[in-house]
Assembly symmetry: C2
Homo-oligomer: 388 residues x 2
């Protein structure tokens, strides 16, 4: 399989964007990434769109053709890919295979979600469609509820503390303070998290990523084309995807995700790397407990010791595994279809040294994007040098 590089990235402002439509966000992200890549629009040979639920959020399916049309890419093959909150990463992977196969040399990946146009509790019932509709959503189990079960079991089995989970939020808010594109720019304290409104015991408001509108995009090309563009290409060294049961109650464990472990194993194998080789990560902190579980499932720390790992500052910008250094889902916001693409864009910018929080000497980055309560996970590993 030939080498593939990310050559362009762009992200819109994330937030409650009342004056922007789904297509506005997709177009802004897509055109920005093409411009950033140095490619002409006519060189884009395929479009992949990551989106979870525009059909329910804004009454629009068929986003591939819609966004190709609105981007001025009429005619170009276009597909929308979906895996709940991992939609952005599965779109990235399908674009990756199209270029890797040799069928095309350049593809645009746009992740987008417009979540704030739906009325009342519609956003929660729509998000619940990422879980098992027949066995979870129909019983009233929301996503905060699902992750609360995972959090409670992690606390029970491993003595993970409320404070350790809260520390994830505190760290991510600190990281994102200067992130102008993030939904929030505010420092919070442990006390703030621990006294915020209870959402689903033990998770409180400040343990949860918000409801967000936003778009992000990346352009990928073959190594040959990337080298002609003159910039610093960031290469895909490995990519893995895994699944787990859709319903939580069917799993052997509530405290680890089989999907992440399978995706990580595959990505590490392809890249020929181990966890200790990773310089910086973006992981899926939809709820604080998930960042702790992610650190364990990615192999950065032993199962059960993720809480202590966070408490000891290992995920801090100056820690052993700088994580969510731009704020993560918690602070950037979580427009579900866009999140995976934003993560990839952040890692690419970090490795290029273009991030507001520089990670000096970072050569290898990883992103973990999770769908639903972990029924899908995608892990990608990126580096400044191509695989040989």
């Amino acid at each position: 399989m030939r080498n593939i590089a990310v050559v362009g990235t762009h992200q819109t402002k994330f937030g409650e964007l009342w004056d922007k439509s789904l297509r506005d966000l997709a177009v802004e992200a897509g055109l920005g990434a093409i411009k950033n890549s140095g490619l002409e629009k006519s060189q884009i040979q395929a479009l992949y769109v990551g989106n979870m639920s525009a059909g329910r959020f804004v009454g629009q399916e068929h986003l591939g053709a819609l966004i190709a049309d609105n981007l001025g890419l009429k005619g170009v093959p276009a597909t929308r890919c979906e895996a709940a909150c991992a939609s952005g990463s599965v779109a990235f992977r399908d674009a990756y295979f199209a270029v890797a196969s040799g069928d095309i040399d350049a593809a645009l990946v746009v992740g987008v979600e417009k979540m704030t146009d739906i009325h009342g509790s519609g956003v929660l019932t729509t998000l619940a469609a990422a879980g098992d509709q027949e066995w979870e959503a129909s019983m009233g189990l929301t996503f905060a509820g699902l992750y609360a079960l995972m959090a409670r079991k992690h606390m029970h089995d491993f003595h993970t503390t409320r404070e350790q989970m809260a520390q994830v939020a505190v760290t991510n808010h600190k990281n994102g303070l200067k992130n102008k594109l993030a939904q929030f720019q505010m420092a919070i304290t442990l006390e703030d998290v621990l006294t915020s409104t209870m959402i689903a015991d033990p998770l409180r408001l400040l343990d949860c990523s918000p409801i967000t509108d936003g778009g992000a995009a990346v352009v990928i090309t073959s190594e040959d084309l990337a080298k002609k563009l003159g910039g610093q290409p960031i290469y895909v060294l490995g990519t893995g995807k895994g699944t787990d049961t859709i319903a939580l109650h069917d799993r052997k464990s509530y405290t680890e995700l089989l999907s992440t472990k399978l995706a990580a194993r595959r990505a590490y194998e392809q890249a020929g790397l181990r966890p200790q080789d990773i310089d910086v990560t973006e992981v899926h902190d939809c709820f604080t407990i998930n960042e702790i579980i992610a650190m364990e499932d990615l192999g950065f720390v032993e199962k059960g010791k993720g809480g202590k790992f966070v408490e000891d500052g290992e995920i801090d910008i100056n820690g052993s595994v700088p994580t969510n250094t731009c704020g993560g889902l918690k602070v950037c916001g979580h427009p579900v279809g866009a999140t995976g693409v934003r993560q990839i864009a952040e890692i690419v910018q970090l490795l290029k040294g273009e991030c507001f929080n520089p990670i000096n000497g970072a050569e290898i980055g990883l992103n973990l994007n999770i769908g639903g309560s972990g029924a899908t996970a995608v892990v990608n590993i990126f580096g400044k040098e191509p695989k040989v």
Copy 2:
């Protein structure tokens, strides 16, 4: 790019299936195709699901992981792909690139839609989400309405007659009479079509494909693996996808689809074939006018002469281009996410000589699957011998 073959197919009964859920249909189709392929379930390395709108039809997104789980394929990478009524074909293409890239050797593609569980007019508003929500659906323009505009313009510009359109339905009903998996098994006359209920002038009830539940699946592998299985692999000789503007009013022409022309050009080029080399086709007759336009855009007959082409019997089983020989969307039914995969399964079975309506000596088959009012089109060309 290495050669890819279809090695297994299966289709569920299509119809109003009150006793089957989305997951029942997906599992029946998927397990059937794996069994038909001769592969062990453990050899399936990825799942691609074609589905337009389960989020709206049955409140369930995240179908990749859901169906992997229900198929007993837990852990296997899974993605849901969507391009409205072309969702099945875009899923097929993404599976194709994953295998062609060399990342995996075998993938399962499941197309599925459960349309009859939604209340009242919900099915029409959901289908309208395949068009432009802001400029078409929100104005009340349904899909029958969109295709009625195309039909009226075709009649105006080329003197295509009501009878010629009706002949498409008559022919497809005749072809599907013995199709036990089809939604309908009944002969109809021109008179029946011409006196059926008006839906959107000039299209009447019997010009329209129905609302349907159903699933279809195919297994694809590398050429090497296909040859080890011992059956007759059917090879993918070419595949193309194209897009057009999402809204009809933005197009230069209402009587041809840019998307089909681009997809066909690419597929013919890849296959090194011309329209006259095609022995049998499955095309997207969601409305009768669309089969006439398809014949023109695929190059079987000059633009404007499609009506006469049908009238002259050229699409009949004994005609020059046997088309929809199992009944097409009109008779099989049109579970939107399943249709593209059903078409591929039919072509494969036809080339293997396993169809109830044999096309003697057929070596090369083509399917055309269209999304929305033509904003997406996919053309695949299949043959009994691999490309050299």
